[in-house]
């Protein structure tokens, strides 16, 4: 779950979409506002516990019970702190106006000091001192941050303890409490200003760290909040094991979309996908100008690297969530909050249903078409022994889809092997493989081993393609309408492990196969 300030509301909708589909979540990771929801979800909170648009209830009533001074979400910043943050939001939205107004105030003050000095040096000096004091106070406020994290930290600590250890009041929930006893793991990203490096909090790396501390470290956007310090164990060469207070800032400046912390888990278990929910959106889409470039620079620095987090594409599903909410719109009316959460749940669900990996609870809907194709090929090859003298062998049918983020490969989905869905979400390279031929020509093709020489790309061979080639004796690729009515090119890839005879009869049978595959994949609109 990515960072994105008040837009984090959308993560509650994403949580709801995951729950509706009964996904078994093995781990949560988050940055900034995403860290709050990742921690709550990992602790066992459900979307409806946080905001329930149907019952029109929110977690604010529970929070109010924990701290009666907190009535609205903006109270979490600390008493009277929201006013300063609201002014900051106004200045961020109109930076040119803000610069002009602050410069105007500066000029007026300077003029006042010069005028007062011309009347009396004492008054001029006092006014100058007051002005310098004001500037220093404002600078100190900026460096100290407007908001306070104390209330939020206490509330989060209580919420986690009540859900995970209800019989142990006062217990601090730590990183080591996750990823064990059937609980999902939890990973939180922050920027460590002491080590000047990205800090990943996880049960393996920082078992002793209080979750509330880690979350505060991740959300501490400079100027908006005072930067927190956390007791950390020194891992440098000189003082291994010594405790040290490190200063932290918002994780968004180092990695706003933390999908990569699960790279190792994906390598161990490549069939388990990672869902990356990214809060996109931009308060100000206008092109940067001479006076407004610093905000564009800051925004690019904070959120511009999201693309890099998606490079490890295999098994990663990117769910971008755009919204009209601004970064600091924590004061939107509660009715709008319900509306946004409902919309986010529907939008996330819509995207997740399009991915429909074979690892989801009900792969049957889309896999049904491939099962029919599988059965058709298997039954005909079983009967026509002259064409398939050693029987049909192991037949595999899958749909190859071009994901928008993939340039060199295609994703195999809805795999059927030996009449059963195969739990796999696999990327196959296009270049040097039969899929590339179908992409280029847009025509169905049938190949038997040994494949033509143009597929022998020694320098760009990949293990995955070699593995497929080692197993298959024939390949059938048929372009079909996208089963999900997307505009993506889509192909049915059928392979078999037993050789088939070559000749006109085989060509005739293949034509029947192609005809039937197209018939099965015809979109409902065409009937």
């Amino acid at each position: 779950m990515s960072g994105g300030g008040a837009r984090g509301l959308l993560h509650i909708g994403a949580m709801g979409a995951i729950e509706e589909r009964d996904y078994e979540v093995l781990g949560w990771a988050g940055t900034s506002i995403g860290a709050i929801f990742a921690a709550l979800a990992a602790a066992g909170y459900r979307a409806d516990d946080l905001i329930d648009p149907e019952r029109r209830t929110t977690i604010m009533s529970k929070i109010n019970g924990l701290n009666p001074r907190v009535i609205t979400i903006t109270d979490l910043f600390g008493r009277f702190r929201w006013v300063a943050i609201k002014n900051l939001r106004r200045d961020i939205r109109n930076p040119a106006q803000a610069v002009l107004s602050y410069c105007g105030t500066l000029i007026v003050m300077m003029a006042l000091i010069i005028w007062a000095s011309s009347q009396s040096w004492v008054w001029g000096g006092l006014l100058a001192l007051a002005f310098i004091g004001l500037i220093l106070a404002l600078t100190a406020m900026l460096l100290n941050g407007f908001g306070r994290l104390r209330w939020l930290k206490e509330i989060l600590r209580r919420l986690l303890q009540e859900r995970m250890f209800p019989d142990e009041p006062g217990r601090i929930v730590r990183m080591s409490d996750f990823g064990r006893h059937g609980r999902p793991t939890l990973k939180i990203v922050a920027a460590n200003l002491t080590t000047k490096q990205l800090q990943l909090f996880s049960p393996e790396l920082t078992p002793e760290v209080d979750i509330a501390d880690a979350v505060m470290a991740s959300i501490a956007l400079p100027v908006v909040f005072r930067l927190p310090r956390i007791l950390m164990r020194d891992t440098s060469d000189r003082q291994v094991g010594q405790l040290r207070r490190d200063m932290f800032a918002d994780g968004g400046i180092v990695s706003n979309l933390p999908a990569w912390p699960f790279d190792e888990e994906r390598a161990i278990d490549p069939h388990v996908p990672t869902l990356a929910f990214e809060l996109v959106g931009n308060d100000n889409k206008s092109a940067p100008r001479h006076l407004t470039w610093p905000m564009a620079f800051l925004r690019t620095g904070l959120f511009g690297s999201g693309e890099l987090n998606l490079r490890a594409a295999n098994g990663l599903v990117h769910v971008p969530l755009d919204s009209q909410i601004g970064l600091l719109d924590f004061d939107i009316p509660v009715g709008r909050v319900f509306e946004i959460v409902t919309s986010a749940r529907l939008a996330s669900g819509h995207i997740l249903d399009q991915v429909q990996t074979a690892s989801t609870a009900d792969p049957s809907r889309m896999a049904a078409k491939n099962l029919e194709i599988h059965e058709f090929i298997r039954s005909t090859l079983s009967t026509l022994r002259r064409l398939a003298p050693r029987g049909p062998g192991r037949i595999r049918v899958a749909t190859a889809v071009r994901d928008p983020d993939l340039r060199l490969s295609m994703r195999l989905q809805f795999c059927i092997v030996d009449s059963a869905p195969e739990n796999v979400l696999e990327l196959v390279p296009r270049e040097g493989f039969v899929l590339q031929h179908a992409v280029e020509t847009g025509q169905p093709s049938f190949f038997t081993e040994p494949l033509p020489h143009r597929f022998d790309l020694r320098n760009v061979s990949t293990e995955r393609r070699q593995a497929l080639k080692a197993e298959a004796r024939w390949y059938l690729v048929v372009p079909v309408p996208d089963p999900l009515d997307r505009s993506n090119p889509c192909f049915v890839l059928a392979t078999g492990t037993r050789a088939v005879a070559s000749g006109p009869d085989t060509q005739l049978l293949v034509e029947y196969f192609i005809d039937r595959i197209r018939k099965i994949y015809q979109s409902p609109a065409q009937n």
């Binding site: 509306e339 946004i340 819509h350 249903d353 809907r365 058709f376 049978l509």
Partner: protein, 64 residues
């Protein structure tokens, strides 16, 4: 060992086998298409019910 079929007879045999497999397909296809039509209608209804314009657009744009 049975008598080896001539090429013409074997082509006839392919047709018979394919026609038999087709019969099964004809039984299954209407159900598949009905389900696909229902899924499509569900998806469209769900998209239409997203009231936040930007969220609707990001959901519509996914995969395109």
């Amino acid at each position: 060992m049975g008598k080896r079929l001539s090429d013409e007879d074997y082509r006839q045999r392919i047709l018979e086998v394919v026609a038999r497999a087709d019969l099964r397909l004809d039984r299954v296809l209407p159900e598949l298409r009905k389900e696909a039509a229902e899924n499509l209608a569900l998806r469209e209804a769900r998209l239409a019910s997203i009231t936040d314009e930007k969220l609707r657009k990001s959901a519509e744009a996914w995969g395109k």
